[in-house]
Amino acid sequence: MAIGIVKVKRNVKMTFWERSYIPEVLRGIAITSRHFFINLVGFIPAILFGKERKIFTVYYPEERVKYPDAYRGRPILVLGDDGVEKCVACGLCERICPAFCISIQPAETELDKERYPETFTIDQSRCIVCGFCEEVCPKEAILMSQDTEIADYDRKKMLYRKEDLLVAEKDLRMRQAYVRGAFARWNY
């Protein structure tokens, strides 16, 4: 398709009604006000009676947007269905992380998986949510979540320890499926 320039013709000839100014201004104000009031109370039927919502505005933080599965929020650790973290402290994410924000202390466990992370810390103030850790993990043990609310007043509180990072596997099926689909294409 050839790219060309389209000249839009605008009608600059206004009627008397339009040129008299005040009525049109009032009409504009009315439109704005209508939207304002609809937005102010419009969520009530949607929330109270479950009606289909007609407005786009989301009442954050009471209401939240559902991000697409491909969205990368802060990384979390997967707590397997058996109640044990999937991570084996292999150190690959620690190595690949371009922001050097992961630190892991591996240790030995009696379980079949042999090693586990005694400590696993992500410095969320440095993480750039690139998702490399998720991609490199051989155990599907670290996934990007939908959580974006990581701001805090104290940098020290942004050090997420293993306990803070663990999320049950059953809540992560969507992302798991997405990751499998996305990375299977590259034949790792």
Binding site: V88, R95, P138
Partner: protein
């Protein structure tokens, strides 16, 4: 001396050299599992196949001698195909353990898999199951599934440690590495098998799962545990030592080191390190700043008349100090203090006819070379200790605590209580340091530069791998500062400058300099 061509490169090697050795010596890589320079040739892994023109089939490089006019191809299509085949066989029963395997990152199987393997497995059958993760000796864990039966460990125990406890049992794909019943892989060098095991089958209990090897930086140094001076690499992450590895030096330790030396890294970070200068105040020792401690020593060395009277002062050096430090200590005692009462003590212990030597310190040879002994009528250790009760010796400056390991250490400790003034300079808290009026914290060998002279007179470099803890300083810096406070400045920027001074003063060391020492040492005719 046959001359032959390998990968279009003309090479001359001694008669009887194998293709693999000649290639490795000339920087040509041929993958290999079972071949080890210091062990006999086994030829069982078939990874080192190369193509030799006019030979009907591919041949193993590790057991084929070079001959005149041979033409060898190490990366021809035929070779690459054979290698991929060998890799496939190696991996048939190999577990997919890399994420949990401690060898990952320094595993030959992993590396060769990247370089020569095929990305997909065609093996659809059931993998052979074997025993996983069990103790095979005091320091070693064994994983049978990961073993590729290269038999390096078997040959090591037969030929090097000469203990022969390991062998291959059973046959075919049921064969496994085992220990003769009633024994364990417990020889004094057993941890070397974890180095030479090309995969993660034999791993060190001590190092397992502590840290990933790709996070470690290596510093070339010398083992401090005995006077053999085995060459080592200090592996460090975040200012913490995780392990020592032996480093090849054919004049000293080939590629081996003993378990005790290997595990001695723990001393560097132990809880009882001295980290601040301490001075006595009543029954207690309280921490002070360096300036204060040095000023107190300068005062303590002076008699009531405000003069330093060397004849009542003795200095006991340390065989753990470097040559540079021994040299400075000797000069300090002789010139700044004016005494010939200089000596050092060295602990003796177990020895064998492989590496482990009797003297349990890295540098007794160097201490002797630096003349840390009584000369011109000075007192030795026993005379100094004896002289305390007669009032002949009133002040002692002691580096290290080897004195405490001598016989009658109780008695020595008692008589030290009668001194007017005792300075102890050491790395760790000990009964000796608790007796001192001033304690100076010093750095261990891993925290400083310098040289050690081993039992055969080979001068070798140690290099700083981690920072000294707290306020502690290397011995040479402490002596140099103290000397300045005493009004006899001996200022140097680095041990290298001190070595240049040593070369001028000590005839045996006249050709020694840091450049010449390199990483393989420099032989001197020591006394």
């Amino acid at each position: 001396m046959p001359t032959f061509i390998i990968d279009n490169k003309k090479i001359t090697a001694d008669k009887g050299t194998t293709i693999l050795k000649a290639a490795l010596d000339n920087g040509i890589k041929i993958p290999h599992f079972c071949y080890h320079e210091k062990l006999s040739i086994d030829g069982c892994c078939r990874m080192c196949l190369v193509e030799v023109e006019k030979m009907p089939k591919l041949t193993i490089a590790c057991n084929t001698h070079v001959a005149d006019d041979m033409v060898v191809h190490t990366h021809s299509p035929k070779v690459m195909k054979a290698r991929a085949g060998v890799m496939e066989f190696q991996l048939i029963n190999h577990p997919l353990d890399c994420p949990v395997c401690d060898q990952a990152g320094e595993c030959r199987l992993q590396e060769y898999c990247f370089d020569y393997g095929v990305p997909h497995s065609r093996f659809r059958e059931e993998k052979r199951k074997k025993r996983k993760r069990f103790s095979i000796g005091e320091h070693i864990v064994f994983d049978e599934e990961r073993c590729i039966l290269c038999r390096r460990c078997v040959r090591f125990c037969r030929e090097v440690s000469k203990t022969g406890e390991v062998a291959v049992f059973n046959r075919g794909d049921r064969s496994y590495i085992g220990i003769y019943s009633g024994r364990g892989l417990n020889n004094k060098y057993s941890l070397c098998t974890t180095d030479i095991c090309p995969v993660g089958a034999l791993t060190s209990k001590d190092f397992r799962f502590k840290v990933r090897v790709w996070f470690l930086t290596e510093t070339e140094s010398i083992c401090p545990e005995c006077s053999n001076g085995c060459n080592i690499k200090i592996c460090v992450r975040n200012n913490k030592i995780y392990r020592y590895l032996p480093r090849q030096n054919d004049n000293v330790n080939d590629t081996w080191m003993c378990n005790q030396g290997r595990l001695s890294y723990k001393n560097v970070h132990s809880d009882d390190r001295l980290t601040q200068p301490l001075i006595r105040s009543g029954d207690k020792q309280v921490p002070v700043k360096w300036d204060e401690a040095l000023a107190i020593i300068a005062k303590g060395f002076k008699g009531r008349d405000g003069k330093v009277d060397g004849s009542h002062i003795g200095g006991i050096g340390s065989p753990h100090s470097t040559n540079e430090e021994g040299f400075l200590f000797r000069r300090f005692m002789r010139d700044a203090i004016g005494t010939n009462n200089i000596d050092f003590a060295v602990i003796k212990g177990y020895k064998d006819d492989m590496l482990i030597k009797e003297e349990k310190a890295a540098n007794p040879g160097g201490a002797k070379d630096m003349t840390l002994w009584p000369s011109n009528g000075g007192h030795g250790i026993s005379d100094m200790i004896g002289g305390i009760s007669t009032g002949d010796v009133k002040i002692l400056y002691i580096i290290g605590r080897d004195l405490m390991e001598l016989e009658k250490s109780e008695k020595i400790l008692d008589s030290l209580g009668n001194l007017d003034f005792l300075v102890v300079q050491d790395t760790h808290v000990s009964d000796l340091s608790r007796k001192a009026d001033v304690v100076l914290p010093s750095a261990t060998f891993a925290e400083k530069d310098g040289t050690f002279t081993n039992i055969n007179g080979i001068v070798q470099r140690i290099r700083k791998a981690v920072d000294p803890p707290g306020d502690s300083l290397p011995d040479w810096e402490i002596i140099s500062r103290l000397s300045k406070v005493m009004g006899y400045p001996m200022e140097y920027n680095s041990p290298e400058e001190i070595m240049d001074e040593i070369a001028k003063e000590i005839p045996a060391y006249k050709d020694v300099n840091y450049k010449g020492i390199g990483n393989q040492g420099f032989k001197v005719n020591s006394s």
